[in-house]
């Protein structure tokens, strides 16, 4: 057994590092470092830089404009990008719809849509969840009824992440009401400026705006916008969900968060000493560091299996559960390290006022509350356990 990267992998890592050193704009990495909210322009700018290098669609095969990386290379890139405080690559077009179209889309759909994802012409969002259909996605009610060469859509989607920046949405809709609920679902592409669509912001627990609800009233969509076959959407949905779960361990983000937590706990004084020297606090940091070290190897073991034996299986659910909890624990410790100094509501004036504290401190509590989402979305950790119970334990 050899835990080290191969020479080629190390060379690749150095190349990625050098690229990030030279090309990641400092204003963007600063914003990411302190946990500030990125706007559309920030994310578009970073996508364009990566696209120019051919590194944007890290999971796509070469024929569609991807770099053709192995799972390990993809992992190295993600880890390095997180370490450098690069903005996260927005997943909806690149990590979700892209692979779906490559597998299920028509030639026309592939030719038209994939390049527009790469060059940033389109910003996609994901219309899966509904108020009554979360974990039980198959119970979704938004209807699409065929009328000549159009589908007419009525219903409501919710939790649409970054929908405020999007011009298109891919949706799961009900095209058949009898039979098993899974068998009457279709996957359809919708332009958000179609008449009858209304998007409303949802304010989150910490005060930010990243999700929306979307209402559809008699929205007419051309039949060509269907992906795959009518009523075969569930297969696509499941395929997409496994893609949603890749890089779900978020090892790179956690490594970064651990590094910053330690720096913070060295800077903060308690009882006249750096907090990191306090045995109780240090024990908490050590606990999560040990978990993270193990997680890194668990993650690599699963990547290795994917590389040598094809797609990873249900064990990715282990990554999701552990990975999200580790990140949440790190956020929690950072908030706790600050004590009452984490209590202020983060606002522009707080952020701009150096007298009131380090910028990264201002967002510590907001980050902790916002990241409670990690164990809820993309299939909650309870649902991941249900998956593991069936698929791995066969119980």
């Amino acid at each position: 057994m050899d835990l080290s990267f191969t020479d080629e992998e190390i060379a690749f890592r150095d190349e990625v590092r050098a690229f990030l050193d030279e090309n990641l704009p400092k204003d963007l990495s600063d914003k990411v470092r302190v946990g500030g909210e990125l706007d559309k322009d920030d994310m578009d700018r970073w996508h364009a830089i990566l696209n120019a290098k051919g590194w944007l669609a890290s999971g796509w095969p070469v024929e569609f404009g991807g770099p053709g990386w192995s799972p390990v290379e993809k992992h190295i890139f993600e880890e390095e990008a997180a370490r450098a405080n690069a903005p996260r690559i927005v997943p909806f077009g690149l990590a979700m719809l892209g692979p779906v179209l490559q597998k299920f889309g028509s030639k026309e759909q592939q030719d038209e849509i994939l390049p527009r994802i790469l060059d940033g012409s389109d910003w996609w969002c994901q219309g899966y969840s509904e108020p009554g259909a979360g974990s039980d996605l198959a119970s979704l009610k938004t209807r699409a009824v065929r009328d000549g060469d159009h589908y007419v859509i009525n219903g409501q989607k919710t939790w649409t992440t970054l929908g405020q920046f999007a011009n298109k949405i891919f949706c799961l809709v009900r095209t058949k009401t009898d039979g098993k609920p899974q068998e009457g679902i279709s996957f359809i592409l919708v332009e958000l400026d179609t008449p009858g669509i209304e998007m409303r912001p949802i304010k989150l627990i910490e005060g930010g705006h990243e999700v929306n609800e979307v209402f559809f009233t008699d929205v007419r969509v051309p039949v060509e916008n269907l992906v795959g076959e009518e009523n075969q959407g569930w297969t696509i949905a499941k395929f997409l969900l496994t893609h949603e779960r890749t890089n779900i361990a978020g090892v790179g983000f956690s490594m970064k968060a651990l590094e910053e937590l330690k720096a913070q706990a060295r800077r903060i004084k308690r009882g006249g000493r750096p907090l990191l020297e306090n045995p109780l606090f240090a024990a908490r940091v050590a606990d999560v560091e040990i978990e993270l070290e193990a997680m890194k190897i668990t993650n690599l073991r699963m990547l290795y299996r994917a590389q040598t034996q094809g797609q990873p299986g249900p064990e990715t659910s282990i990554l999701k559960i552990k990975g999200t909890v580790i990140r949440q624990t790190l956020n929690d410790l950072s908030r706790r390290a600050l004590g009452p100094a984490a209590a202020p509501f983060p606002s522009e004036e707080m952020f701009g006022n150096a007298a009131l504290g380090e910028p990264e401190d201002v967002y510590a509590a907001a980050k902790y509350f916002n990241n409670r989402k990690l164990s809820i979305f993309g299939g909650s950790n309870e649902i991941q356990r249900n998956i593991l119970t069936k698929a791995m334990l066969e119980l």
Partner: protein
């Protein structure tokens, strides 16, 4: 043995609970808790008229209570109502004024708002490392996250005077006060003192400050118990009504057992808070309070995180009451000493 409240306290609890439910309902809180002055000055006055503040001071100081159980009665109701009014500062100020034998009529009738400024950035919880200096009744230093300080008339400031700690009264208009809102609602301030004039209230104030801090800590435990009860009710209601896969999610055993753990932790927190309330004024007051703050801080975070998780996405929204209870429960631990600080205080007792 008798775990029931006295008649007087039960009446106080009922009237405060009803008052908060009527006048401080969730909608109203949403309107006042997150915008300056981060509380409702008019309702502050009405609440004072109910006698809530008098319950926090002993008879000899003009109040009609002031015991551990008076404190827990008031704060449990405030926690249950998720009330952002700065009552904590009033309680702690009342303790200091009582120790000084000073007049506190204005404090008890609600006409003068007090904030207590002890914590500093590098010493948010403890008295040993206070750096604010007092020389010739002039104070210099910075007090950090002074709860209620954004809208206080008077600050009671802990400062180092020679080798000992002293408490000074500083008028709000004399100091530089930067107020702001808190992530869990309510307001606080940074207090910048630069040869700011103060009036000496207490010399050799360490014991009085510890007593005020302990009272505040007990209050926070009780507030947490009240907020945990309310959170648990919201959670159980949701588990019974939210349906996925054709059944109420409360039918999933994966959630049932965790909901039971939540209730167990709340009961443990309630018990240790009762214990601490009963030890107020005894020699082991500080130790009992630290035990309570440790267990309650841990339970409060568990209840908050589990309530969010078992709600799913809806608890991530601003609109849902549970998210605001969760924020308060998590942030309560950061006030007047967190889990680790108080665990250390309990552990320190083993050395003796």
């Amino acid at each position: 043995m008798d775990f029931s409240l006295t008649e007087d306290r039960r009446m106080l609890s009922d009237s405060l609970t009803r008052f908060l439910a009527d006048k401080y309902a969730f909608d109203h809180r949403g309107k006042v808790a997150y915008d300056a002055p981060f509380h409702d000055p008019a309702l502050w006055g009405e609440m004072a008229e109910l006698g809530v503040l008098y319950a926090l001071a002993p008879e000899k100081a003009g109040g009609f209570g002031g015991t551990g159980f008076d404190i827990t009665t008031v704060f449990e109701a405030l926690g249950r109502g998720l009330c952002p009014e700065p009552v904590l500062g009033t309680l702690m100020a009342s303790k200091l004024l009582t120790a000084a034998g000073a007049d506190q009529a204005g404090l008890l009738d609600g006409s003068r708002r007090y904030a207590v400024a002890i914590g500093e950035l590098d010493a948010p919880y403890d008295l040993d490392n206070i750096a604010t200096l007092a020389e010739d009744d002039k104070l210099s230093g910075r007090k950090s996250v002074v709860y209620g300080g954004n809208d206080a008339d008077v600050f009671l400031v802990a400062a180092r005077k020679g080798d000992a700690l002293a408490v000074y009264e500083v008028t709000g208009t004399d100091a530089q006060v930067t107020g702001y809102g808190l992530i869990d609602g309510g307001g606080a301030a940074e207090l910048f003192l630069d040869a700011t004039p103060g009036t000496l209230l207490l010399d050799d104030a360490e014991a009085a400050l510890t007593d005020a801090l302990d009272a505040g800590r007990l209050a926070l435990c009780a507030e947490a118990v009240g907020a945990m009860d309310a959170t648990n009710e919201i959670l159980l209601d949701y588990l019974r009504t939210r349906k996925q896969f054709g059944v109420a999610i409360g039918k999933f055993q994966a959630l049932q057992h965790r909901a039971v753990d939540v209730v167990t932790e709340i009961e443990q927190a309630r018990s240790i808070t009762i214990l601490a309330a009963s030890r107020m004024g005894e020699t082991d007051q500080s130790r009992a309070v630290s035990m309570a703050k440790t267990l309650t801080g841990r339970a409060a975070r568990l209840v908050a995180e589990e309530a969010i998780q078992m709600h799913g996405g809806i608890a991530m929204t601003w609109e849902a009451a549970v998210s605001h209870f969760a924020k308060r429960l998590v942030m309560i631990d950061a006030q007047l000493g967190d889990v680790d600080f108080h665990l250390e205080r309990v552990m320190a007792g083993y050395a003796a």
